[in-house]
Each structure stands twice: as C-alpha cells, then as structure tokens.
C-alpha cells in the first residue's frame, strides 16, 4: 500500500490495527496526539483530587473519587495504546515531566473552590466528551475501541457535575456565587479548549481521520449544548459578544497566544503539578523496581 492509498482508505472510513503498515507521518502524529490525551487524563487528576479530600458529603466524596478513578483508568487505557505503538510508559511519563510532551490547557489552571468542582465536571468534561465522541470513528482502531469505554464511563461524570451545580444553584446566595465566580474563571480556558479554528481539511488530525471533526465544529457543538444550560440557571457567561446568529454562535475571539503559552508549559500551575508528579514518581520508583517490574 502506498501512502496515497492509505490516505484514500482511511478517508473512506477504513480502519487500521496495530500490526498494519502505517505511513511514518501518520504514526508520528498518532503517537503525539494519543500521548497528549493520556497526559491530559493523568494531569487532570491533580486539580480534582484535592477536592476528594474536601468533599462536603459522603455521596459527593464517593462520586468524586469514582470520577477521578475513571480518569486514571482512562490514562491507563490510553497509555497502553501508546505503548503498543512502540513508546514505553516510563518514556511517556519522563517526557511529560520534562515538559517535552504536552497536555490540554484546562489542566494547567488552579481550582479554588467547590464551585470549580461543579464547573469542571459539568462543562470541562462536556467539552472533553465532545472531542472524545469525535474519536469514536478514529482510523486507528485500537484507539477507537477504548474511546467507547471512555465515553460510556464519562456519562456519569456530566450528571454528577450537573447535580453538584444544581444543588449549589438551589442553595444559598454564597453557593450560587461560588458557581458564577468559577464559571467566570473557567470560561476563557473552555473557549480555547478545542483549539484554534483551522479548517478541517487543513487539520492533519482530520485529514488522516484520527479526529472526525474540526476544532470549530467541536466548539460550536459545545456552545449549542451548554450555553442554554448555563443561561437557564440564571448564570451569566463573561463574554458580552456571545450570541447565536442563525446557526452559528458568535463570541469574542479567544486568546490563542495564551493557549499556546499555557500548553507549552507556562500555565499558572504547570510547574507545580509536574513537580508533584515527578516527586511522587521518584518516591515510589522502588515499588516499580521491586514489585511491579518483576
């Protein structure tokens, strides 16, 4: 098969398995994309796990622990795909910690209140699920298959998020303020999450059918699904230009420089979180050496 034939094959809906011949460019882009996803699941755990310890009811503690556990489980599923493509897990983790490999923008920011817990589970997870659904038809079949389990597990995360938010909104003024304040801080990163709006046919991820959706399409889907949910609760979105005109949402252009700055390792919490990961990995290296590597 030539590269041109491979391209035609995947663009026609064809899928490939681990042992199949893959063009070098496809393999390289695939590993980078999938690894970034794995890194994101693993780093996303850190802002959320603090709140497991502070969960204000037993139900919330259980739900949040289960949600974060799912994310670790997703990291496991995704790193396994990367490993089967030839990159060992400890190499991926080393590249993550050194800053060589990236993770999604939203996980570089601080969480400040219980309002963040709700907003993350309701909106950040929603943005991620839209991207994940677009991966269900990935041309690389091992990744498409794990996306099925991931999407299935994520379904309760959104409900948990909504439950937290609705409970807060039905509570006291202070609790409602927690939500609005968190939303004000998370809106910018949320709008940047799906990436800058390069046309799908110029996006290599779409061209190779690794993703089945362009960035702007994903963002529009997010706005369509979630702005009405935000507004119906009496919350405001901190963007005076946000409105739907015909079929299209208009909004203030996100700060693409900020996005680039953050994902290249300069987010408010990037260094602290990578350092924490590094310390825990070092502290427990003996366990891997003595037990897990046997």
């Amino acid at each position: 098969m030539t590269e041109a034939e491979f391209l035609a094959y995947v663009q026609d809906g064809g899928q490939v398995e681990t042992g199949d011949w893959l063009p070098d460019e496809y393999r390289a882009r695939l590993i980078k994309f999938i690894e970034m996803h794995a890194n994101s699941e693993l780093m996303g755990v850190l802002p959320e796990r603090e709140w497991i310890l502070r969960a204000p009811t037993l139900q919330r503690k259980l739900a949040l622990t289960a949600k974060v556990q799912d994310e670790v489980g997703h990291a496991q599923l995704i790193y396994r795909v990367v490993e089967d493509l030839g990159k060992p897990r400890d190499q991926s983790l080393a590249d993550l910690i050194s800053g060589k490999a990236k993770f999604h923008n939203v996980f570089h920011y601080a969480t400040k209140t219980w309002g963040d817990v709700g907003v993350i589970a309701w909106l950040v997870d929603a943005a991620a699920i839209i991207s994940q659904k677009a991966l269900l038809k990935c041309s690389y079949a091992p990744y498409a298959r794990i996306m099925k389990k991931i999407c299935w597990e994520e379904s309760f995360h959104i409900l948990h998020g909504r439950d937290v938010i609705l409970t807060l909104m039905n509570g006291t003024d202070e609790q409602r303020e927690l939500v609005q304040e968190a939303l004000n801080r998370w809106w910018g990163p949320l709008m940047q999450f799906h990436g800058n709006p390069i046309p799908a046919d110029e996006d290599p991820m779409f061209v190779w059918r690794i993703k089945s959706q362009g960035n702007e399409e994903a963002r529009q889907q997010f706005l369509d699904g979630y702005v009405p949910q935000i507004w119906e609760l009496g919350l405001t979105v901190p963007d005076p230009k946000l409105r739907k005109v015909g079929d299209v949402w208009e909004y203030t252009e996100p700060d693409w420089d900020e996005l680039k700055h953050v994902v290249t390792g300069h987010g408010p919490k990037t260094a602290e979180r990578l350092d924490f990961r590094r310390r825990m990995l070092e502290q427990e290296q003996w366990v891997r050496d003595v037990v897990l590597a046997a």
Binding site: Q69, G73, Q76, R80, I146, L292
Partner: protein, 94 residues
C-alpha cells in the same frame, strides 16, 4: 512486567469479548487489576485474563477462487423450483 489481555463477559450466556489489557508483574496482580479496571461497575460477570504471548493471531485468509459451494449465497433455487412446480402441476396453487 508483562501485558495481560482481558476478555469480559457482559452477562451470563454472552460470549467473552476482548476488552483491553493491563500491565502486571504476574497473573495474580493482573487479575486484581483487571477486576477493577473492567469490573468496578459490575459491567462484567466474568473476565478471562491471559498473558499476551498466549494469544496467537491468525489472519491469513484468502478466497481467491470463489468458494460459494459452502455458503448460503452460493445457491440459487428460484428457477429450478419454478420448473419443478410446473412439471408437478402445482404452480397454480401458489
């Protein structure tokens, strides 16, 4: 460290289907890990946990000369049936 493939049975009577894989130092750990990664929501009633190198893929299948004789689509009986009914005089009853 070895890779163990995990097959799960969704409910009694269903076939075991491949679900994924775990990294573990031995079968005991692999089973403990698979138990939660593929069963913590009771989404499986049973799992098979198998070292990867015990799973052998067979994938060289070629049908070059069209072996229709052992498939249902290899048989076209409509015309023969019409002729047989005509001979027996049973064609009108249909």
């Amino acid at each position: 460290m070895a890779i163990y493939e995990v097959f799960r049975q969704e409910k009694k009577g269903a076939a075991f289907a491949h679900a994924g894989s775990v990294e573990a130092p031995c079968a005991e750990f692999a089973e403990a890990f698979a138990h939660e990664q593929y069963g913590r929501r009771h989404e499986s009633v049973a799992l098979w946990v198998v070292p990867r190198d015990a799973v052998h893929e067979v994938s060289a299948f070629y049908d070059e000369l069209g072996k229709t004789y052992h498939r249902v689509d290899g048989y076209s009986l409509k015309e023969k049936l019409r002729v047989a009914r005509e001979r027996a005089g049973t064609a009108e009853d249909r």
